[in-house]
Structures are given as structure tokens and as C-alpha cells.
């Protein structure tokens, strides 16, 4: 997935947040009644806490909302601008308008992301298609 700069994503299964979703470009935390999405975090030397973005019921919604945000970032972000800088420039309200309030727009964003990823093989599950030679994991004996 091409993007203006690297994106780091995390998903934690519960509020203990072992995956540290709070400092990721897109962080997901499982809570009692669904999933919370946080955006625009940054680890490293200048640590930035991600902004709470949405609370969603299903994991399909998480994919759609996270995907829509990533696509918006891909289309509007400047080259080498991390999501934290992108958000600071355009404002969280702008992103909320485009992703949370504009339902048709959100779906269209998500569709555009899926279109650009269409046909790409998953190197974890499609060894042959992704040209991963699985023999490297099998030792030889003399």
C-alpha cells in the first residue's frame, strides 16, 4: 500500500492495550461493546498520543473506517508527511467530516483503497502467489 509516509497500525484485543494502539497512526482497541479507533499517533522521539476517532460495533466497520481514513491520508497527505503532521495541517474536524459524517464519501474512500490493493497476494497466507519460498523454513540434513 503506497502512502505519503510510513504508517504503523496496531490492534489490541482489550483495554489493557498491549499493542500500544494509542501511539499508532491507526490504533484499534477492543472494548466491552465493540472497537475504538484512534488516529494520528506517533511513537519514537517525538511521541504523540493518537486522537480518539470513533467507537464501532463490528470489525467490518473497523476495516471500513480505518480504510477510509488511510485512503483520505493517501489522497491528501503530502509526501513524507506522517499522519500526525497531516492531521495537524488539515485538522481533525476535516477528517471527521469526510470519514465519520459523509457516509457515502466514506464508503467511496474505502472502495478506492480496496481497488488499489486488489489482487495483491498476502505473504502470510498465499506463499506461492507472493513468491515466498517456503523451503527456506525447512532444514536440510546431510
Amino acid at each position: 500500500m503506497y502512502s505519503p509516509h510510513k504508517v504503523k497500525i496496531a490492534v489490541s484485543g482489550c483495554p489493557r492495550n498491549c499493542a500500544e494502539s494509542g501511539i499508532k497512526d491507526v490504533g484499534v482497541i477492543g472494548v466491552d461493546s465493540g472497537w475504538e479507533i484512534y488516529i494520528g499517533g506517533n511513537g519514537g522521539i517525538k511521541t504523540e498520543v493518537a486522537h480518539f476517532f470513533a467507537k464501532l460495533k463490528t470489525h467490518e466497520e473497523v476495516l471500513e473506517y480505518a480504510g477510509a481514513f488511510l485512503q483520505l491520508y493517501r489522497e491528501e497527505g503530502w509526501y513524507l508527511e506522517r499522519t500526525v503532521h497531516y492531521l495537524a495541517r488539515v485538522g481533525l474536524e476535516h477528517v471527521k467530516k469526510k470519514v465519520l459524517e459523509d457516509h457515502a464519501g466514506r464508503k467511496a474512500l474505502y472502495e478506492r483503497l480496496l481497488f488499489s490493493l486488489d489482487g495483491l497476494p498476502d505473504p502470510w497466507h498465499e506463499f506461492d502467489k507472493a513468491h515466498v519460498d517456503a523451503r527456506q523454513f525447512t532444514p536440510l540434513t546431510a
Partner: protein
Amino acid sequence: MSKQWKAICSVADIPVLGSRVLKRATQPDVAIFRNSEDGVFALLDRCPHKGGPLSQGIVFGERVACPLHNWNIELQSGCAVAPDEGCTQKFSVKVEDGQVYLDAAELNAVEAEVA
């Protein structure tokens, strides 16, 4: 004294810019590399720095980069590239008719730590 060559695998069994690991009975593993020119090299699968698995390193040119701390090891000599110092054991390789052979005596020898 002529060398005894042990057949190990075919060159095609080794992923390009990758490696296969040869397990030995009581000795540490041997990593067998294949570079982009189909050159085949064999080194002890232990980086001279902190013992990292060279077989899981990035192969480029005639070198491999250790995945732990990025020491570049020359595949021909088993020695680290400056400014790093240290060598790991290298094994003689013969490629004949697309088959890879290693020196049987070297494979069976008790490991001698190379400084």
C-alpha cells in the same frame, strides 16, 4: 589427500538471495547461501558478533547482513567487513551438475572457534 564431498542438495533447492539451513548431529547449523549470480557459499549459521542466524540475513552481492545487528559478513571468507572484526567458520563448497556438495571432513570436524 583428496576431499570427500557430501551431496547436500541441488542449487535449485536454495531460494535465490536466500539460504537453506543444514542441521548436523552435534554441531551448530551450517547456512548454505545462494546469491543473485547463483554462487553458492556455506558458513556456520552463527554471526561472529553475537551468534545471530546468518541464514535469516539479507544476501547481497557476495555478502550477507546479519539480522541482529547488521554486521556484513563476506560469504567467501566468513569474515566481517570493516569496521567490524571477526570471522565465522566457512565451509568448502563444490557445485557440480547443479548439485551442491560440502566437504565431509569439515562437516564432521569438532568446531574450532575462529577468532
